[in-house]
């Protein structure tokens, strides 16, 4: 019997692994053609080493971050590694999360990624999916919407964020070498971040 947090991370990992080729293809267009391969390698290792029966959310998120940090290799290693480690800090000692905890996780993740990548919204990065998703989720939670509705709003905003990355020039990461030629392509990091949020929604909605 595996814990809920393990099952949730497994769902995220499987979503990334299933979409490995598509993520790599996106990265071939504007980067170094390794995003899907790297993320799949990282999550394959994560799913192999995480203790299945532990319900310590903070601990599992921290272990996920440490493993991604050492196994992913590309920029997504330190970025996702930081994101999961920051989320782990917020969830330290917890075995369940509330909708408000979700906001705190988002805040820590965004702050961590911004610090690590020195990026802001509008630079064709994962933040272009994550920040609007956070804003939509928070607005829904604060207005008293159900968790399911808040998660749907989160994913819709993330998906729109991915679409938005097609319209802008990359100024961070390997895609910035392409300049204007990066327009028209969706950002691989925003895409994998959206898969992550979709998997969390699907897990919670069951």
């Amino acid at each position: 019997m595996s814990s809920k947090i393990y099952d949730c991370i497994e769902m995220i990992g499987n979503r990334i692994i299933e979409n490995k080729d598509f993520l790599t293809e996106l990265d071939r267009e504007i980067g170094d053609a390794d995003h899907g391969i790297n993320m799949a390698r990282g999550f394959t290792e994560v799913l192999a080493i995480l203790p299945k029966d532990s319900d310590n959310i903070g601990d599992l998120l921290k272990k996920t971050g440490m493993t991604l940090l050492s196994k992913v290799g590309g920029a997504s290693g330190p970025l996702y590694g930081t994101a999961y480690m920051q989320a782990g800090k917020v969830c330290a000692g917890k075995t369940a999360l509330t909708a408000q905890d979700g906001k705190a996780v988002f805040e820590a993740v965004i702050a961590g990624i911004q610090k690590r990548g020195k990026a802001v919204k509008g630079e064709k990065t994962m933040l272009d999916a994550i920040i609007p998703a956070f804003e939509a989720y928070s607005a829904a939670v604060d207005s008293g919407a159900s968790v399911n509705d808040a998660l749907d709003a989160m994913c819709k905003a993330a998906e729109e964020g991915v679409e938005y990355t097609k319209t802008i020039i990359a100024t961070k990461g390997r895609a910035s070498y392409l300049g204007e030629r990066s327009i028209g392509h969706q950002d691989p990091g925003a895409t994998s971040a959206t898969y992550t949020m979709q998997a969390v929604r699907d897990f919670i909605k069951g």
């Binding site: 940090l69 050492s70 290799g73 920029a75 997504s76 290693g77 330190p78 690590r116």
Partner: protein, 129 residues
């Protein structure tokens, strides 16, 4: 002596820069190449970089030279994980030219500040004049 860690996505690039630096700093035993992943694949690994920093440190501090994007991010994470135990800084410099300047300066017995300054000066050196 100030240690130097050369970070690249590629094992070969880091080792190649190491070879070039050692031509000018052959008596320096505190220069370490930390390229690629443990498996030899292209990428950077904060834990490998952390081990390299520890190995390069003699107590006088360590200068890190890194290549593109995640080279810097992984080096920053390595430094954060080390805490305050080692005086280590990343040079804002091109990895090859910076590493050679740093190696020569370190071998002369300079401080970490001087080694970092020498590496960063490589940013402004014109190659055609």
């Amino acid at each position: 002596m100030v240690g130097i860690v050369i970070v690249s996505h590629s094992v070969k690039v880091a080792e190649g820069i190491y070879d070039l630096a050692m031509e000018m700093a052959s008596e320096n035993e505190h220069i370490i190449a930390a390229g690629g992943m443990e498996s030899g694949a292209i990428g950077t690994d904060a834990f490998r970089i952390m081990s390299a920093i520890k190995a390069a440190d003699t107590g006088d501090g360590v200068a890190v030279l890194a290549d593109l994007g995640s080279g810097i991010m992984s080096a920053e994470m390595a430094i954060e994980m080390l805490g305050d135990n080692i005086n280590v800084r990343i040079a804002d410099a091109p990895v090859l030219e910076g590493a050679i300047s740093a190696a020569v300066t370190s071998t002369s017995g300079a401080s970490l500040d001087e080694v970092i300054a020498a590496a960063e000066e490589a940013r402004n050196t014109s190659k055609l004049s």
